[in-house]
């Protein structure tokens, strides 16, 4: 095994925040969800994974933080290759935003946001839900940053609207100063107007912090508008990787119509 705490680690600062090399995934039932996926995401870049339902977007994102095992190829986060041995450490650099927000509904907004630092806290802090002052202050700052008011801080997460809940989830994601933010269809459950606000917020907040974003979407117009780059998936295969301006109608046709283009 290579030692990532040596110079390679530091060299990686100039390299990609996230890289996939020949990544594939076959589920237990033999279903090939991803095949030979290779691309990089630079620090601060907003990369959209575009694809129809079932194309493998969720699987790809969940492999990055180990919620799904990798079948083949390798994934590296800030130059550090993922393995079961270093998963706990790598996870601290990765945040995730979910389609269903995945907040703890009966806890307050502040408690939800502070839970974003759980990997860095001792167990007894979690038990009594009391975090250090610095964490509390950071949480308040982030709650303000995502556009929520003081009246939301101690309100139960369940009391908020969908858009507000996703803002809380964004604040929670930012708590651990992630190098990579994974967002799996973060606006699929939101109204179009709110969807724009939330995507804009993710992009701006990530850019301020130099965090790379890997965001899956199924709407081409949103992908074009917010992506610095688009990676299009079709049945587990990358069929396009480039700037939004280069995304052609042919690619969209291939993604959204099940029949393969006639050769």
């Amino acid at each position: 095994m290579r030692d990532f705490n040596s110079c390679e680690d530091r060299l990686a600062i100039d390299g990609p925040a996230l890289s996939f090399t020949g990544v594939s995934k076959a589920f237990g039932d033999g279903h090939q969800a991803l095949a030979d996926v290779s691309f990089d995401v630079a620090p601060g870049e907003f990369c959209v994974v575009l694809g129809a339902s079932g194309s493998g977007k969720t699987t790809l994102l969940r492999m990055v933080n180990g919620l799904v095992d990798v079948s083949g190829g390798e994934i590296a986060v800030t130059g550090e290759r993922l393995s079961t041995a270093n998963m706990a450490r790598v996870r601290r650099k990765i945040a995730m935003i979910h389609q269903q927000f995945n907040l703890i509904e009966r806890l307050s907004v502040a408690q939800n946001v502070m839970a974003g630092t759980l990997a860095q806290q001792t167990v007894w802090r979690a038990m009594i839900k009391l975090y250090p002052r610095s964490v509390q202050n950071k949480a308040l700052e982030l709650i303000k940053r995502v556009g929520l008011g003081a009246d939301h801080v101690n309100r139960r997460a369940a009391r908020l609207s969908g858009g507000q809940q996703q803002r809380v989830a964004i604040a929670r994601a930012l708590m651990c100063d992630p190098a990579v933010i994974l967002a799996d269809e973060p606006v699929a459950s939101l109204d179009p107007k709110i969807a724009h606000d939330v995507l804009g917020l993710i992009r701006e907040a990530a850019r301020e912090r130099g965090a790379a974003v890997l965001c899956s979407l199924h709407q081409p117009d949103l992908a074009r508008q917010y992506g610095d780059r688009i990676v299009a998936l079709h049945q587990g295969v990358v069929v396009f990787n480039g700037p939004p301006s280069a995304l052609s109608g042919d690619v969209l046709h291939q993604i959204y119509h099940m029949s393969a283009p006639a050769a």
């Binding site: 933080n65 919620l67 998963m87 706990a88 450490r89 996870r91 601290r92 990765i94 945040a95 995730m96 979910h98 269903q100 995945n102 907040l103 703890i104 509904e105 009966r106 806890l107 408690q111 839970a115 974003g116 759980l118 990997a119 806290q121 167990v123 979690a126 038990m127 839900k129 989830a169 929670r172 651990c176």
Partner: protein, 339 residues
Amino acid sequence: MKSVLGRRGVAPSWSVQRPFGWRTLIGLVIILVIMGDSAHRLGLERIFIQTGEAIAASVGLQERSQLGDAVGRITGEMFPITIEERKPVTRIENFDEARLPPFSHLESVDVQEQVLNSDTLQLETVTHTQRVLVEPAGYLLYVLTKMVETIEIAIWATIFAIVMSLPLAYLSARNYTPHFVIYGAARGVVSFFRSMPELITALFLVIAFGFGPVAGILALTLHGAGFLGKFYADDIEAADKRPQEALQAIGAGQLSILRLAVIPQVLPSFTAQTLYLLDRNIRMAAVVGLVGGGGIGQELKGRYDLFEYDRVGTILLVLFITVVGLDQIASRIRRHLLS
């Protein structure tokens, strides 16, 4: 082209499937026959016959009924219930007339006694004056202290049951157990505890720990731990997976996830189950008292065996009012927590 054949290989037809078939009907008939036989063996018809007689008697169609007579006799002896406590001062240790208990007074009563005259060898009625300490609400107060003791037994048993069931629930929740062997063992222990009837456990615990609250508390604890352990574990297994996954994704530990993403979600359900157990424990604490597990049940058994139905009446009334009152409080707490 899709096959025109349906799932079972028969051509689909334009008709609504019947909601039940002849198998269901035969099954129902068999169940009814079994129930009829069981009812006959247990003599359940007496429920209807005797209740019917009692109703007939009460509306004047019948002179008297067995059930009505029994109920009349018991209520006749229970009422009026006994509230005061009277004790001859000669039977009070270290009686000090200068320091009577609050609200009590002394009365002199003439007591008639049949005494055998040793000279004439005849029974004679002798009257002598006895001084009696009368506490106007003495017995009621005593029953109330026993009721408080019963509630204390129930509360302690509930607390111990919670403490015992939390680790059991953790080990017997499929998604948190450290190992499937431990899962199986913990589920086994939980079922075993739940299957132990309090009254029978109490009988044995009274032998081990002697008469009194300790045996009662332990008997209720064991059953309660089995009850809560199962329902807590089921709640943990059924809790919304999404927040748990969100914390898992950022590298939080198992215990932290359990504490922050599971406990808050299942707390209303935990509370409802715990309140149900407390409610049940208060009634059961009275029952285990019957076999010597302390509290009001022990007092009830003693008076019942002495045929002092007027005091049994006091006890039952206090028990009834307490259970109804606590039920009101419990439902208020539940409503508050579920909102």
